[in-house]
């Protein structure tokens, strides 16, 4: 019903165009073997070269490859400098460098971990929760190995950029008070025991994909809910920043916040449209709905703030945009333009309420609202993805079962990430003799305390 309305443009067109092709099915024209970012067979890129069936089909498409090389660059751009600036600007001046270094170090560290074992554990093999070790250190991956129509090297690097930004997102929750050494240990453990298994469960043909056929086109659960929950747990375990919430902690550089949000927006096209692994109509529509949902969310946040607080703030419209980007992520392969507006507006509303009212009510100190925006926005998106989904092949609405799959994947991710995060924090606590910076260090600021530098000499 409602779903029919919001996904209409797609199915309508499918009829008109006399083409059954729809994202998420096996018949999406020339991009068939890569059209489902969530398809067990192809998600574990390596399989492409293992199954003889696809062996012969596998021919490199230079257009798809061109797009995916760029998409990879765009997703890296999201973390450095995008996310770094978004968070760095929100921080107080005395902590800006600690944010930037944490994002940079996370980029370097995750790149190495993903190369050495991450890719293999996530994308190779077909266990329920973890993959296998067949591709440790990229064993067997060379210049000519393909994944669908693109080189496996490109698929590997593209997925690497996801493995970089997801832990980096968490940084915003425990910002301004966690020891740098503890950050690195925590993120390493969380990456290994939460990111990789959830990836495998959802995209690698594991539990969630197999048993529940949950849809997560570009990473609503794997990336955003996963990171959002880790952030919530971390900021609660760490405790509040000195003076929170009594003394205001305004962003030290709002223009940085907006540059960061803008780069996240632009880079997100690589994230969502890139998840199609091809330059085709599905990718084009993914980019379109990403743009529309983001605009709807930013506009909604702005208006709600304007009405309730009397003024639309710069940080508000930027945060709204990010909320929209998060929410549309899982749906970007299946929803239509009108559905995108709905997803965006909904996430704008709900995330605004979480980041303002709910946080105040519960009193946790999620420094930059990682849970409020990524956790909650991811959940909103995951559920609406099920709501607006239409199986164009049959034309029948299957909301019930779809929704069930989405709900399960959300719950599994929440529990898994929460448990792993808590344990990882305790281990970091042991190894670093406390994960929290000393009172004096926190007061002096982590720029100098952790990195021996000041942010600016102005």
């Amino acid at each position: 019903m409602i779903a029919a309305l919001f996904a209409a443009p797609l199915s309508a067109q499918d009829a008109a165009g006399g083409n059954e092709a729809t994202p998420g099915t096996e018949t999406a024209g020339e991009s068939s073997d890569t059209s489902t970012g969530t398809d067990p067979e192809t998600a574990g890129g390596g399989d492409a070269v293992d199954t003889p069936a696809e062996e012969e089909a596998a021919v490199l498409n230079s257009g798809d490859t061109a797009w995916m090389i760029v998409a990879t660059a765009l997703v890296l751009l999201m973390t450095i400098p995008g996310l770094s600036l978004f968070y760095g600007g929100l921080a107080r001046r005395k902590n800006v460098l600690s944010i930037l270094v944490q994002c940079f170090a996370c980029t370097a560290l995750m790149t190495l971990l993903w190369t050495v074992y991450g890719y293999s554990v996530a994308a190779s093999g077909d266990g329920q929760f973890f993959g296998d070790f067949d591709k440790l250190c990229l064993k067997g991956v060379g210049v000519d190995t393909l994944n669908g129509t693109i080189p496996e090297s490109v698929y590997f690097t593209f997925q690497m950029t996801f493995a970089i930004i997801t832990p980096a997102l968490i940084v915003g929750a425990f910002a301004e008070r966690m020891k740098f050494s503890a950050v690195l240990i925590f993120l390493t453990l969380w990456f290994t025991f939460s990111y990789l298994p959830v990836w495998h469960m959802v995209w690698g043909g594991g539990y969630v994909a197999e048993k529940w056929e949950a849809i997560d086109f570009a990473g609503g659960t794997v990336v955003h809910i996963n990171a959002g929950i880790a952030g919530l747990v971390a900021c609660i375990v760490l405790g509040k920043r000195q003076g929170f919430p009594k003394s205001p902690m305004p962003p030290h550089n709002v223009p940085f916040v907006l540059i960061g949000a803008a780069l996240l927006w632009v880079g997100w096209f690589g994230f969502n449209a890139g998840s199609q692994l091809a330059a085709d109509g599905v990718a084009g529509m993914a980019q379109l709905v990403t743009q529309v949902a983001t605009a709807a969310a930013a506009f909604t946040w702005m208006m709600v703030e304007w009405i309730t607080k009397g003024k639309p703030t710069a940080v508000g419209i930027a945060t709204g945009a990010v909320a929209g980007l998060v929410a549309i992520t899982p749906a970007s392969g299946t929803v239509g333009p009108m559905g995108a507006i709905a997803v965006g507006a909904a996430s704008g509303l709900v995330c605004y309420w979480t980041a303002t009212s709910l946080k105040k009510a519960l009193g946790y100190d999620d420094s930059f609202d990682v849970f409020g925006v990524h956790g909650v926005g991811g959940i909103v998106g995951a559920l609406l993805t099920g709501l607006f989904f239409i199986d164009a092949a049959t034309g029948a609405e299957t909301i019930e079962n779809k929704l069930k799959g989405q709900i399960v994947s959300v719950i599994v991710t929440i529990i898994w990430s929460a448990v792993v995060s808590y344990i990882a924090l305790k281990i970091a606590d042991l190894l670093c003799g406390g994960i929290r910076s000393s009172e004096d260090e926190e007061r002096q600021g982590l720029n100098v305390a952790d990195h021996g530098e000041e942010g600016y000499q102005l």
Partner: protein, 112 residues
């Protein structure tokens, strides 16, 4: 010699400077300060929570003048800086024992 310290509204600096020039005062030192007083501040919003900023940007002007030049200087400042609205600021006068021009080691009024 007297030292005149004036806390004024930032956008009034140019006018005050010109007014002082008219009474023949060609030297001064200014600093950006924040002022707290009767004038109420504004509220800002960050992620839904509002807070008041009650330290307002002001300019602090320091002029050291010969005793006889004092009244003229004070008048120049007060009249130029006045808007009649709360927050116009204050003028404080105190005594200076000695003044030295570093470049020439001149002292007293010659140094000004």
């Amino acid at each position: 010699m007297k030292k005149i310290e004036a806390v004024i509204k930032p956008f009034k600096l140019e006018e005050v400077k010109d007014a002082l020039a008219e009474v023949g005062i060609e030297g001064m030192t200014v600093a950006e300060v924040k002022g707290f007083g009767r004038q109420k501040g504004h509220t800002e919003i960050y992620r839904g929570s509002e807070y008041t900023v009650d330290f307002l940007p002001k300019i602090k002007l320091e002029v050291v003048v010969a005793d006889d030049a004092m009244d003229g200087a004070v008048k120049a400042i007060t009249s130029a800086a006045k808007t009649g609205k709360i927050g116009d600021g204050k003028v404080f006068v105190s005594s200076i024992d000695e003044a030295i021009r570093i470049r020439t080691d001149e002292t007293g009024n010659e140094a000004l």
